[in-house]
């Protein structure tokens, strides 16, 4: 680093001030405190805290998202846009990497337990049917396909196709979730198989449940992207929310294929 020169033109783009980060942090922070209240037998306090925390978090998330949209509208003029889209894509990649690490922890735990235990599946486990989950798997894999088609359609300027395909993807996600809900209901009511039954029950419900949570969030992302499309807030340079929704969706699908293979097939 010998000499430092300066660019000719300067545009001072200052960090945005926003009240949402601190409000969101406090809102989310109420949730564990609600759990503590619940654990110590203060059910009403717990409910109150959980509802307040949830509401504050939701409002601040929406406020945050809104202010991002407004800021970005200014950036179109100042030319910071392409740069920020690049940053956001990178953010998403690393975020998914850290998500993969969380699932990685679960998978390691699953396989390690499985190969150290005498009998698998452990006593008390009912027969887990693979027929319906296999159909659900196909549905989810197909939804990955429709999602990608939707993104491609948007990039070719076919807005109507894109919107339809996004809705179809979200719908397929919901069908997948209802398959899973039915399966859980059946296992719990008919066979009394719960998280507390044995280690397989724990793994089965917690892994599919954690994944199901991701599917639900993915559906919300898809619907949000649909909403922004409908409002005409996206264009060729600026459709990060669509890209984010689709990457997230593919990620969730890949995790499911691994889960299906691990929990049902082998």
């Amino acid at each position: 680093m010998e000499t430092v020169k300066h660019h000719e033109e300067a545009h001072v783009h200052l960090p945005p001030r926003s009240v949402w980060p601190i409000v969101l942090a406090m809102g989310v922070g109420l949730l564990p405190i609600a759990l503590v209240a619940f654990r110590t037998g203060h059910a009403i306090v717990a409910e109150l805290l959980a509802v307040t925390g949830g509401a504050v978090s939701l409002v601040s998330l929406m406020g945050w998202a809104h202010s991002v949209v407004m800021d970005k509208a200014e950036d179109v003029v100042t030319g910071h846009l392409s740069m920020q889209q690049q940053d956001l894509k990178m953010f998403l990649k690393y975020f998914l990497l850290s998500e993969a690490a969380i699932f990685g922890g679960l998978f390691v735990h699953y396989y390690s337990t499985r190969y150290h235990i005498q009998a698998w599946p452990p006593a008390g486990t009912p027969h887990i049917h693979t027929h319906d989950p296999a159909i659900a798997t196909l549905i989810l894999m197909f939804s990955s396909f429709t999602c990608e088609l939707g993104l491609k359609a948007f990039e070719k300027g076919k807005k109507f196709h894109a919107k339809t395909l996004l809705l179809v993807t979200a719908l397929l996600g919901l069908i997948f979730l209802s398959y899973q809900g039915l399966e859980w209901g059946l296992l719990i009511t008919q066979y009394g198989f719960t998280v507390e039954t044995n280690i397989f029950g724990t793994m089965f419900y917690m892994m599919t449940g954690f994944h199901g949570l991701h599917v639900s969030i993915g559906v919300i992302f898809l619907l949000l992207a649909y909403g922004r499309l409908e409002l005409g807030q996206m264009n060729e340079e600026r459709h990060f929310s669509l890209i984010a929704a689709s990457w997230y969706w593919h990620f969730v699908d890949v995790i499911w294929v691994l889960l299906f293979f691990s929990l049902y097939l082998i």
Binding site: M1, E2, T3, V4, H6, H7, E8, A10, V12, H13, L14, P15, P16, R17, S18, V19, W20, P21, I22, L24, A25, V28, G29, L30, P32, I33, L35, V36, R39, T40, W64, M83, Q86, D87, M90, F91, Y94, F95, L97, S98, E99, A101, I102, F103, G104, G105, L106, V108, H109, S112, T113, H116, P122, V195, E196, T197, N198, I199, G201, T202
Partner: protein, 531 residues
């Protein structure tokens, strides 16, 4: 556009401006908030250490109950690791990484603020846990099951601890992604990867470690929480769960966490030694590759914490060898630092004193680490004070010493005022001597068999324990003088300094010393180009 005009147009007038620090996205303000947070937590965590040392001055002093002693031991470690050292590095990184790469801010200012504010509920959970039935966690910061399961640790204290760590972990992960994107995308034109200052490199590698390791810890803690709250059996043997796996996942994070706590310090030391030896850093590329290697090998050593936990001998040998191998890149760094100061015209400023003290203490900590990497030695001294001595030489002698160096080195940049050199000399000598008096005797106690984490000990260890507690008082004095000086200089001194107050940048030529002290809100009116 003139500077004044730029500043004037910078913010639209808004009611938000009145809330200032609470709504800021400015990496410098967020950095300073992290540093204050770490200082406050260090006072509390240091106070807890005082309770421990006071209890241990006599074999059975009865000063505190065994239960409270356990809480102090667990919380001292928790605070120092997650609420002092990691946030302090995040603070210095927040302030100086954008400055050093010629950026106006981090890539995601609001996310940066969110990550910081997540520390507030985490802290509330930690301190709140002292006031619930059963009190705070007593298992030690490792929270191994079955001890940490509901059967043996009933009250909600452990739940609060688990959720607090998950929160502070989420804060770390979001911060790490922010650092990675910032360094990858926001470098000034011409600042190629292999021209980046070493503090930036250290933080970049650090962020990748945080990104991959912390989620694994979170998943282990979440399993423990689920076992406690929802009756699952991830870690409960009776239903087929496996508590040993918790140890694997825990240390998969917690060994890299040692590097997370010390890598930014390596970066600081490289800047400080080169600056005050008036030389360029020796072996820049070697230093970068050494940090990378430490990062990679750091992932392959975790089970050296588990030699007595019943893992197969083949694994023990593998992890033993890897733990010794990691000394090689560390050695490269030590020798490069020595070569940097070799033949330089050394100025014994306070940061330089801490830098040199760091090398001395970190080498001792590293050497006892290599001893512990030997499986038979570890069998002998595991869970004794020898281990306590080892990791305090690494964390106090390594992390805290380099953090002092960084604070003294960059304080004039952050505030526009020098910390007192005279008081700084006192802080250094009191801390350096105090640290050795406190922790060196622990090597001897450990080899002789004094168990760690216990509120009492056999009478023959009393004199060494008295010595150790006396050393604590020296460190305490150093800490108090430091906090006093920081408060005085930050709030009661006036004035600004030139861009390069240490007069070092004719050799170092880094961007942090090219902007005013303190830097303007936008850092660089024009983004610099590096040739």
């Amino acid at each position: 556009m003139s500077e004044a005009a730029a500043a004037a147009t910078a913010y639209k007038s808004s009611w938000l401006n009145k809330l200032d620090w609470f709504v800021t996205g400015d990496h410098k303000k967020i950095g300073i908030m992290y540093l204050w947070f770490a200082i406050v937590m260090a006072i509390v965590g240091g106070g807890f250490a005082g309770v421990i040392r006071a209890q241990l001055t006599k074999p059975d002093s009865g000063l505190v109950t065994p239960e409270f002693y356990n809480q102090m031991v667990s919380m001292h470690a928790t605070l120092m690791i997650f609420f002092v050292i990691i946030p302090a590095w995040t603070g210095l990184g927040n302030y100086f990484v954008p400055l050093l790469i010629g950026a106006r801010d981090m890539a995601f200012p609001r996310l940066n603020a969110f990550a910081f504010w997540l520390a507030v509920p985490a802290t509330a959970l930690m301190f709140g846990s002292f006031f619930v039935v059963g009190g705070a966690i007593q298992t030690g910061w490792t929270a191994y099951p079955p001890l940490s399961l509901a059967a043996f640790s009933a009250g909600p204290g452990v739940d609060m601890w688990l959720m607090g760590i998950i929160f502070i972990g989420l804060s770390s992960i979001l911060g790490a992604i922010n650092f990675i994107v910032t360094v990858a995308n926001l470098r000034a034109p011409g600042l190629r990867w292999f021209k980046m200052p070493l503090f930036v490199w250290a933080w970049f590698i650090n962020a990748t470690l945080i990104l991959v390791a912390t989620p694994v810890l979170s998943s282990a803690l979440a399993m423990l929480l689920a076992d406690r709250v929802f009756g699952t059996s991830f870690l409960t043997v009776a239903k087929g769960g496996d508590p040993l796996l918790y140890q694997h996942l825990f240390w998969f994070y917690s060994h890299p966490a040692v590097y997370i706590m010390v890598l930014p310090g390596f970066g600081v030391i490289s800047h400080v030694l080169a600056s005050f030896a008036e030389k360029k850093i020796f072996g820049y590329k070697g230093m970068v590759f050494a940090i990378m290697l430490i990062g990679i090998i750091g992932y392959m050593v975790w089970a050296h914490h588990m030699f007595v936990a019943g893992i197969p001998p083949s694994l023990q040998i593998f992890f033993s060898y890897m733990s010794m191998v990691i000394a090689v890149p560390t050695g490269i760094k030590i020798f490069s630092w020595l070569a940097t100061i070799w033949g330089g015209s050394i100025r014994f400023t306070t940061p330089m004193k801490f830098g040199l003290g760091f090398i001395f203490l970190f080498v001792i900590g590293g050497m006892s680490g290599i001893l512990l990497a030997n499986v038979p030695v570890d069998y002998q001294v595991t869970d004794t004070y020898f281990v306590v001595a080892h990791f305090h030489y690494v964390l106090v002698g390594g992390s805290i010493m380099s953090m002092f160096a960084g604070m003294y080195y960059w304080f004039p940049k952050m505030s526009g005022r020098f910390l007192s050199e005279k008081l700084g000399t006192w802080v250094f000598w009191l801390f350096f001597v105090g640290m050795n008096v406190t922790f060196f005797p622990m090597h001897i106690m450990g080899i002789q068999g004094m168990a760690r984490r216990v509120f009492t000990y056999r009478p023959e260890f009393q004199s060494l324990n008295e010595l150790s507690s006396a050393g604590y008082l020296l460190m305490l004095a150093a800490g108090l003088i430091f906090v006093f000086d920081v408060l005085k200089t930050a709030f009661f001194k006036k004035g600004t300094l030139p861009a390069d107050p240490w007069q070092i940048n004719h050799v170092q030529n880094t961007l942090d010393w090219k902007v005013s002290s303190p830097p303007p809100e936008y850092n660089f009116l024009k983004i610099p180009t590096i040739e």
